[in-house]
Symmetry: C2
Subunit: 327 residues, 2 copies
């Protein structure tokens, strides 16, 4: 008897944002449960400044931080209980998120806070989520919780009005819904599916560089799933548009919530059935074939010219690793 | 040498809405290209009344219809060129969609138009997309195009205002974006990822009945992916919430765009590691184990008690079929 579930791996344990232990019960949340959670002395608060997270203390590199404040700390920092959402419970502990209006966010235009190996402690203990993930400053479970909170807070931040009638909306269901009292519409958090894929031709694969990437980094190609597409159709269209390659079979590998601002990365391997790359010079600075050995040296960060790939927390890394180790 | 892409099937050809041949070029669409497409004498128009499609002629059951009007017909019926979107091109032919404000939509509260075997021709040739898909009235490619249009039109219909500032938005990029001229925000079409899954324990699987289902129909369980979840995490959470089962491995099968209103169905098989079902009586009317033989008879519509599953156009059917034929 064959094993029907053979070859069904989850995301690797080190893939960022995937080890989220929160029990949501999102459909059963309401204002009473939110109030009870806020009043629970064991409650833990995540505090956001814009899209960034405020940490109780920012450790030196290599240490693991805690992202949580208690209610007294949260209130002292200016968290507004009326603008607080309940993510759910971790075991029995309520986990909440609130926004601060402090002016101490790091400058997102400053590449220093986003560049591997060059993290510098942000003023007032505020750090962007991407750096937090890249530098392994949180446990895998806490990073999952922070990603969950970040995606939801990003959605609330951009959806204070009703997309149907334009009136202001208000938080409902502990933060898992916004209601419009004017036209009655219920709005649910948005999650944008994105395909990210490694195109393969035998012993070589396709990697590209976006202009915004840090110098010498190459990654898998990616793009949003569009209306009316399957996952496989989106993989084929994106690779055709960005690399000019034609694709045969597509195999799903794993997925990753990606809170920038609220995406779901759907990782796939794609079988190239043409070989000439004609890449999109608006989207990409370079896009070319890499041999398996060259890709391995980039993953392992010992490439002769210093080229490298994203770190293990990125699903692009895991797609490459899986192919290199299993093809 | 092993075949790295072994076991990477696409959606079955009969899965509804998946055979969409449109070339979008959505990022390169603009008002000029839209105007050129409208002026192209070969252009084809899909016309919507609310969420429903107006057909040039509604054939008797079993025949295949065309969903397209030409520009003269579209204008005669009241299509507004200023409210028209460009889906893309099918080969060289522009395919557009517009909305009519006719009062002849079928009543969505009337189950007759949704019930298998009981379709009755709607007045004025207007039919809901679900019935259109269920009754195989269009070719697979045209159904894919109609689903694409339906999802996009549903999004436009619910997003006439800016979710950030509340001001009215306008169509851009041929219909693949809405712009807010007040706060400058660009809004892109929303696609909601939904997991739909067949839980399996050896020779039996779990099917459930929602109260809104037609009598005697059972299907796979399903639910929206929530913020901060992987696909696999969503499968485990939904099965825990709806059936009380604990799940081990999850294996992705295939996907399906589902324009009700604009979802992406992500079909998976799930390995049950507990056996006692304690189902959610708010969401489900029944939920229980079915042997493989019983499920096969429901798929083949020869079950002793008349129970049945959704038709081949539904991804739930394909998840069952794959397990029954391959486990």
């Amino acid at each position: 008897m064959t094993d029907f579930f053979a070859g069904a791996p989850d995301a690797a344990p080190c893939t960022g944002f995937t080890a989220n232990p929160i029990t949501r019960d999102s459909e059963r949340q309401d204002a009473n449960k939110l109030a009870a959670a806020v009043a629970d002395p064991t409650a833990r608060f995540l505090l956001f400044v814009g899209a960034d997270l405020r940490l109780p203390a920012v450790p030196d590199r290599g240490d693991v931080a805690t992202p949580y404040f208690d209610i007294a700390e949260a209130e002292a920092l200016g968290a507004d209980p009326a603008d607080t959402i309940l993510l759910g419970h971790h075991n029995t502990i309520p986990v909440l998120a609130a926004r601060l209006s402090a002016p101490t966010a790091p400058d997102p235009q400053n590449p220093a806070t986003y560049r591997a190996g060059q993290y510098r402690e942000a003023e007032e203990g505020v750090i962007d989520l991407r750096s937090l993930a890249m530098f392994g400053m949180l446990s895998a479970e806490d990073l999952g919780i922070v990603g969950h909170a970040g995606g939801l807070m990003n959605w609330h931040r951009g959806h204070g009005h009703c997309a149907r009638c334009g009136a202001p909306t208000r938080i409902e269901q502990g933060g898992y819904r916004r209601n419009c009292d004017t036209c009655g519409r219920h709005h649910f958090p948005r999650t944008d599916p994105v395909v990210i894929m490694l195109a393969i031709d035998g012993e070589r694969c396709v990697l590209g560089r976006q202009p915004r990437f840090v110098t010498d980094m190459y990654s898998c190609l990616a793009g949003f799933v569009e209306p009316g597409e399957t996952i496989e159709g989106a993989v084929r269209r994106e690779l055709a548009e960005e690399s000019g390659l034609q694709i045969g079979r597509v195999r799903y590998h794993s997925s990753q919530p990606w809170p920038f601002p609220h995406s779901l990365m759907i990782g796939c391997h794609a079988e190239a059935v043409s070989t000439e790359i004609d890449f999109d010079h608006e989207e990409l600075e370079d896009c070319r074939w890499f041999s398996r050995e060259e890709a391995r040296s980039m993953l392992d960060r010992n490439h002769a010219d210093g080229l490298f790939t994203p770190p293990p927390m990125a699903i692009a890394h895991q797609l490459l690793r899986h192919w290199i180790d299993n093809a």
